[in-house]
């Protein structure tokens, strides 16, 4: 087939195309068959997670010289898009590890820290996560109360992080805490004295990844575990939120894509009043609107991803991508369920699972309202700058 011009947006290079094919094959062969069972159990499939390490996907944005794949944000979007078609919960565990920990850690760590952590997290031997949200501080992230105080060569952390994906299985976490009021990033290992995680927090969707609190009670963290300069945490946080939001948006696109595929097939095969239900205008609206919304979200997300990288700031783009794409996943999953009626509501088809999973994307990694707040502030600032 001749290459369509629009394909350049989704697969800018041969490597991107091959990556998409590889992840799609992996997802169909190995991820889909286990998705419903892990959703039901509410557990992360750790052996399957390690397969992501075998395939080299855990360090997708890390330079080759440091053991990663050296690819860009578009590549990260491709992986999240393709995996989320089959198992958004598992994809969320991948995102928490590879984007929230690995990508963030890489850009604020020194050579010694990289040599200690990268081999274990890139192979999948260690599962990792990131701690930002607290019981009393979500969108109001600067209101966090977790503190870190100097203690000889090391640090003592006190506070609680909550809703932390991979909390139950994680071996290490990138944690934000305030040092004399200034946000600073630390890496905390599970065996740091005074650190523990709560029980699994049960949830509506994204059940193939786990969630818990991270609890720091006079937690002793070695001095060598400060990431970057003391007080530089906000810079790392804001930089990493861009790729985080863009890949979360890509997950929503994956959910929407799959739901369109399922409902189009179903509407052709399902008959009512002696004809396919896709002959009815009410159904056509779901199919056509769902497809158009999905395409719009996909184009926006891939376009924004082109301008996301360690040296490029694009908060407006990433906020806009997630603000627009997150409701699309939820809406299109809802359309698919409506088209399928009872079948869509039951667990025989994956739509009800995707529908439950989709809601998280309007909350995690920044609520819809946080994106609206940021965008208004940033657009107004741009206006003032002329």
């Amino acid at each position: 087939m001749e290459r369509l011009a629009s394909d350049l947006l989704f697969n800018p290079t041969e490597e991107h195309r091959m990556l998409r094919q590889m992840v799609a094959d992996f997802a169909a062969r190995e991820v889909e068959p286990q998705a419903a069972a892990h959703d039901a159990k509410g557990e992360l499939n750790v052996p399957l997670f390690r397969r992501l390490g075998d395939l080299g996907l855990l360090g997708i944005t890390i330079p080759e010289a440091d053991g990663g794949a050296g690819m860009d944000a578009v590549a990260a979007v491709i992986v999240h898009h393709e995996l989320a078609k089959y198992d958004p919960g598992f994809t969320l565990a991948y995102l928490a590890h590879s984007m929230l920990f690995v990508n963030n850690f890489y850009h604020c760590s020194n050579a010694e820290q990289r040599s200690r952590y990268l081999p274990r997290v890139l192979s999948g031997e260690w599962v990792a996560g990131m701690g930002m949200t607290e019981p009393g501080a979500g969108t109001d992230v600067l209101g966090m109360t977790t503190t870190a105080v100097r203690d000889g060569d090391g640090w003592v952390l006190n506070g609680t992080k909550t809703y932390i994906t991979n909390g139950c299985e994680g071996h290490c976490f990138l944690v934000y805490a305030k040092v004399e009021g200034r946000i600073t990033a630390f890496v905390v290992d599970r065996d740091c004295p005074g650190f523990r995680t709560s029980n699994h927090i049960d949830k509506l969707g994204m059940r193939a990844s786990t969630m818990s609190e991270l609890i720091f009670e006079d937690c002793k963290v070695p001095g060598a575990n400060v990431l970057g300069e003391v007080g530089s945490g906000l810079t790392h946080m804001m930089r990493n939120l861009e790729i985080e939001r863009t890949t979360l948006a890509a997950m929503s696109v994956g959910i929407a894509d799959r739901c369109v595929d399922i409902m189009v097939r179903y509407a052709e095969e399902r008959h009512a009043f002696r004809q396919s239900i896709n002959r009815f205008g009410q159904i056509q609206r779901y199919l056509a609107d769902g497809f158009a919304m999905t395409e719009a979200a996909k184009c926006l997300v891939y376009n924004v991803a082109r301008d996301i990288g360690p040296d490029v700031r694009n908060r407006v783009g990433s906020d806009a991508a997630k603000l627009f794409a997150a409701p699309v996943g939820k809406q299109v999953a809802d359309y698919a369920m409506q088209v399928m009626g009872g079948a869509g509501y039951c667990k025989e088809f994956p739509v009800e699972r995707l529908w439950r999973d989709a809601k998280l994307l309007e909350i995690g990694g920044g609520t819809i309202e946080a994106h609206q707040k940021n965008l208004t502030k940033d657009l107004t600032a741009l206006l003032a700058r002329g």
């Binding site: 087939m1 195309r17 794949a69």
Partner: protein, 272 residues
Amino acid sequence: MKILVCVKRIPDPDESLKFAGGGLDYSASKWVPNAFDEYAIETALRLAEVVGGTQRLAEVIVLGIGPESQRQQLTQFLAMGADRGIIVDADPDKLDTATVSKLIAAVFKKEAADLLIAGKLSQDNEGGQVPQRVAGLLDVPQASFAATVEWDQAAKALTVGREVDDGVEVKRVPLPAVVSVDLRIVLPKSVKNGSTPATHAYQEGPRLASLKGITMAKRKPVAVLKPSDLGVAVGTNEQVVGVAAPPARKAGQKVKTVEELFEKLTKEAKVI
């Protein structure tokens, strides 16, 4: 050891066929590697690698015959782990099976390869002739439709299990040789190379290219040859006269009683 593996690109067999102008219309087709060629590269890689170590026991060369610009499937095999590639730049529509076989045999000789591993057939035409023809042209032993392969490195020979109609036939094949592979060659324990622990179980099926493999693939050398470089004249003695969809099945008849059915079967259809 040098192992040569062929890859052919074919229209995706999962897509429905389109007809135009008395033939098949491939203009909107998605092209994929022939699945049996994927089994062939998996076989070659299992022979070449030592699981748990970094040593390579063989060089794996992937050969594609087709326009230089359409090398995506060859690149995919490099991403899976082949060491280098060779493209014979020619229009596959102008090559018959005999010419393709001559080109492969010529590359085999030029490379002084020890083993050709090929899929047992290509899923588009299902000719199933090329490996056998190449073995004939090279005058080397062959084992077709392999379901298991064991490499005896010291004796420079392969023991090949072939699935035939009445069971599994075991052949001992001295190298150099030609092996064509069937589906079961990618079961977890079908290939043994004498160095990877015999108890090792591979994941079933051809492997996925790792991301590292994908990023490395473009850096692997790919030589481009013309048929004339190999002393092979391009041409075909085959001609496609026409391709048409089978006639649509006529609507059946509904009968109300067993008696009516019996009547129709005996008098109309005359099958009883």
